[in-house]
């Protein structure tokens, strides 16, 4: 039969592509089915207004795992690299930081930030080792699991008594306590707090927001880059690597269901009724969509169903795209600095207050915003002399009270623009087009339940050994032949490729055995 594959990957998100490419390199005949026209999932570049293109979801590259880069021979062309974060102040006294260096704050904060960044990077390195490996199962007597656990314990000890204690103290607590203890500058406190809660349904005072901060630093210590041509080029490069390895990628092929026969996976069926056969199906879709919709709960057990249905995955980050007919003016910002990452998070309380309404299904009246002007260094994204402003805006809860109606979206867009205008007066007159992608839109367009960019909240109870759920954290689902390879599996979201790589390695090892 021609349409029989060794493995079928559902979804050509970046993790799906990484997984497919590595499986193919391992000698498997792999088919990738993507619902959308473009590959990349949420890592895509697309036109949102005539002549204006933007990375539709993720717009900064900082989590791509070096191992993924190396194994697939990726060398993405970067429009910007080692970008600064500029925490904007209305009076033009901005705070700028990159790596361990911070400017625009007092001497004490400079030292303190350096120490903070160094220590956090050290912890992040430890974390990163385990982001790139299948988490061990707890409560088994399997040698490999025990060995990994023992190594984790050993690695913790190796931090030294002082750092180990600090690590264990910090891993569960909130970023707010840390930034207030360490820094004086409200701007620095605000920006670091924001870094920790980006993409989550968490505020700076929520537990385990140090963990999310470490997660952000894990791959490259938070070194920010923007790929030339937007995030879509990363996906294209991954797709190319996959095709070179022999993977067949078919787009506009939404999978309707995973076919289960005699209690095991037998292939997939597309929305048009086409069937593809394979004893191995790897889902890049989020765990909820995979189990509840594609597989159907009747094919799995009750306890597993319950856990999957309880995964917290309500997105809270919206994406706002503005087409500008010229550069805005921001007081205190040199022209060259428009290529950096700009942040509106004036202090840690502001971030928490932005989060407060989200708890009750309301969007922030004063949102926190991360802005980039990708067209500044990459003119291909906008007509000559014009610009694209790409913003991640929080908080825009998925389950907005009353729903994300056109009126609600318009109102929130207005709120966001008003917030930006406080820092960039006159910006409103430069806007020629805008697009707001709420978590509801992200769910619809990128097929991510809840529009959550991690495919499930990044929290200690959904992390490592228990991601996506307890008993199924090793990529293999409790249905023979079914695997997860997306952000919903260990370790989580971000354009990192870690989940896809770990899953591929796991599958290859299991099938070799």
């Amino acid at each position: 039969m021609t349409d029989r594959y060794d493995a079928i990957v559902i979804g050509a998100g970046h993790n799906g592509l990484v997984c497919a490419a590595l499986l193919a390199k391992g000698g498997k005949k792999v088919l990738v089915l993507e619902a959308n026209e473009q590959v990349g999932g949420a890592a895509v570049t697309r036109e949102f207004a005539d002549g204006y293109s933007v990375s539709a979801c993720a717009h900064l590259l900082y989590q791509l795992q070096p191992k993924v880069r190396k194994e697939l021979g990726l060398s993405p062309k970067l429009a910007s690299d080692a970008m600064q974060t500029i925490a904007l102040s209305q009076d033009g006294e901005h705070v700028r930081y990159a790596g361990a260096d911070v400017r625009g704050v007092g001497g004490a904060d400079v030292t303190s930030y350096r120490r903070f960044h160094t220590q956090m990077s050290r912890f992040a390195d430890l974390l990163n080792t385990y982001l790139n490996t299948t988490p061990p199962r707890l409560g088994t007597s399997e040698f490999k699991d025990l060995a990994t656990l023992a190594r984790l314990g050993f690695d913790l000890r190796r931090l030294g008594r002082e750092d180990m204690r600090t690590f264990l103290r910090l891993i569960g607590i909130n970023i707010h306590d840390e930034v207030t203890e360490r820094f004086e500058s409200p701007l620095l406190r605000g920006a670091v707090s924001f870094d920790a809660v980006l993409g989550t349904h968490l505020g700076p005072r929520s537990p385990n927001t140090i963990m999310t901060y470490l997660y952000r630093l894990a791959a490259s210590h938070g070194r920010l880059a923007v790929p030339q041509g937007g995030m879509g080029t990363i996906a294209e490069e991954l797709a190319q690597a996959a095709r070179t390895a022999g993977v067949t990628i078919r787009t506009t092929m939404p999978v309707k269901r995973i076919v289960v026969e005699n209690g095991r996976v037998a292939g997939v069926e597309t929305a048009t009724g086409e069937r593809f056969h394979s004893a191995t199906v790897v889902s890049n879709a989020d765990p909820k969509r995979t189990i509840m919709e594609l597989v159907g709960t009747r094919h799995v057990e009750t306890g597993f169903t319950r856990r999957i249905s309880h995964i917290r995955m309500r997105g809270n980050a919206a994406k706002l795209h503005l087409a500008l007919d010229g550069l805005p003016a921001i007081s205190g910002l040199a022209k060259a600095e428009f290529g950096e990452r700009l942040v509106i998070a004036p202090d840690e309380h502001y971030v928490e207050r932005a989060f407060n309404p989200a708890k009750y299904g309301e969007s922030s009246a004063e949102p926190v915003i991360e802005m980039t002007l990708p067209s500044f260094r990459d003119p291909s994204l906008a007509p000559t002399g014009k610009h694209v402003l790409s913003c991640v805006v929080q908080y825009a809860p998925y389950a907005l009270e009353g729903g994300w109606t056109d009126a609600a979206k318009e109102a929130f867009t207005k709120t966001c623009i008003e917030t930006i205008v406080r820092y960039a007066p006159g910006l409103e007159s430069r806007i020629t087009a805008s697009e707001l992608l709420t978590p509801a839109d992200i769910e619809r367009e990128f097929h991510i339940t809840g529009g959550h960019w991690h495919h499930g909240e990044l929290a200690l109870d959904q992390f490592m050994f228990v991601r996506p759920v307890c008993g199924a954290a090793q990529y293999r689902m409790p249905l023979d032949g079914l695997y997860l390879c997306g952000a919903g599996a260990h370790p989580g979201g971000g354009v990192s490729g870690a989940a896809g790589r770990n899953a591929a390695r796991r599958i290859l090892r299991e099938q070799a055995a």
Binding site: M292, E301, R306
Partner: protein
């Protein structure tokens, strides 16, 4: 929402007024929130009614769920370990259900009332588990415990009693069959089921018909030796029948804290209920693994020498008691078998049918404790399994 009166204290079953009239002991306890008698006159007399005439037990407090909807069969088939597609409408299945780890949550009976309409009866309540099992399926689950009044009518003359009462067609009802009858203007469901291991039936109707049903029944049973019974007699009878009980012979898996305190169906002697031909059911993966690698425990039926019931006794592999291999979970003297019997749990691979084990029985005489090591034989069959139990039609006695 309109205000609803919430009963205070123990609930009374719709048969309470009749039970209270017959009661002479005033020995009551709580069963799932209802007040029920330990015994009404004398547990022994009531026990002998089960074995020699007709005993009536009020099983209204038994947990009852109605399961309906297009996916009802898919739902139940995934819930329990046996193949429910074989259970046609009008049939009843004894079944066991497990968690994902293949550990027993409870056992019970599932009545296929009408096409696609089921009633699940169990000792324990399972609302959360049943609702979670419904996620993603088009099925509706209703707790109908209080909406159905039920009586068990058990014993050799139970068929004669019910026939005299005027239930037509009862003679054709096979064991584990059920029928709907129009009785004196109300709807009555009769099933040939029970928890005594004897010939017997269970009657199910709406609570408002309860008293009248009781009166008809007792009028019909006057010459067939009918007696109401309490839970003490039932407990003795069910051990004779080899039936296990939640919280006594096993712990519901979701009620345990410690690992290793649960039991799989394979460890409870219920492997005949586990159908590995079904592609998926709760616990299948774990049970298949257990079948491959072997179980830890085995449920044993013990025929013990002597006449001292082996309550809570340790079980040993040798007379000297050097090797403790398990313990007794249920024990009683069986008057009808004239045997000292018990159910117990022992470590595999010990306790195979026919093997000899030793049971350490402590007993008290005038405050002082004595201990005896009693020889016990592991038996395969239920201690009590009279021919009449399987006979269709049963003898009119």
């Amino acid at each position: 929402m309109s205000a609803r009166e919430v009963p205070q204290g123990r609930l009374r079953t719709p048969f309470y007024s009749r039970l209270a009239e017959l009661d002479t002991l005033n020995a009551w306890h709580t069963w799932k929130g209802y007040t029920v008698p330990d015994a009404l006159y004398c547990a022994d007399t009531e026990y002998f009614a089960i074995r020699n005439s007709t005993a009536v037990f009020d099983l209204t407090p038994m947990t009852k769920y109605r399961i309906t909807g297009p996916d009802a069969l898919v739902y139940i088939d995934r819930l329990v370990t046996r193949d429910m597609s074989k259970i046609r409408p009008g049939r009843v299945a004894y079944a066991v259900w497990c968690n994902d780890q293949g550990q027993t949550i409870d056992d019970g009976t599932i009545f296929h009332l009408r096409e696609g309409e089921y009633r699940l009866c169990s000792q324990e309540r399972h609302c959360a588990w049943l609702m979670d099992s419904a996620i993603g399926l088009d099925v509706s689950i209703t707790d109908e415990t209080a909406d159905v009044a039920a009586l068990a009518v058990q014993g050799p003359t139970s068929f004669a009693t019910l026939s005299r009462m005027g239930i037509d067609g009862l003679g054709e009802l096979k064991p584990f069959g059920l029928m709907h009858v129009d009785f004196d203007g109300f709807e009555l469901m009769v099933s040939r089921t029970g928890f005594t291991g004897d010939l017997g039936y269970e009657l199910w109707t709406a609570p408002e018909n309860a008293v009248s049903l009781w009166d008809y029944l007792f009028a019909a049973g006057e010459i067939t030796g009918i007696r109401a019974m309490g839970t003490d007699a039932l407990e003795q009878a069910r051990i004779e029948a080899g039936y296990i009980m939640a919280y006594i012979d096993f712990l519901p898996a979701n009620a345990t804290m410690r690992t290793g305190r649960t039991r799989s169906p394979l460890e409870l002697g219920l492997d005949w209920l586990v159908d590995f031909k079904k592609p998926n059911f709760n616990g299948r993966r774990a049970l298949a693994e257990e079948k491959r690698s072997g179980s830890t425990w085995r449920l044993v039926k013990l025929d013990i020498e002597g006449n001292k019931p082996a309550h809570h006794a340790y079980i040993f592999a040798d007379r000297k008691g050097r090797k403790n291999i398990g313990f007794v979970t249920s024990a009683t003297w069986s008057p009808v078998c004239k045997q000292n019997i018990a159910l117990g749990t022992v470590r595999m691979p010990l306790g195979a049918p026919g093997s000899e084990l030793w049971v350490e029985i402590f007993y008290q005489r005038e405050m002082h404790w004595s201990r005896v090591m009693a020889r016990a034989e592991v038996v395969d069959k239920p201690f009590w399994f009279p021919k009449r139990r399987g006979l269709t039609p049963p003898d009119l006695v």
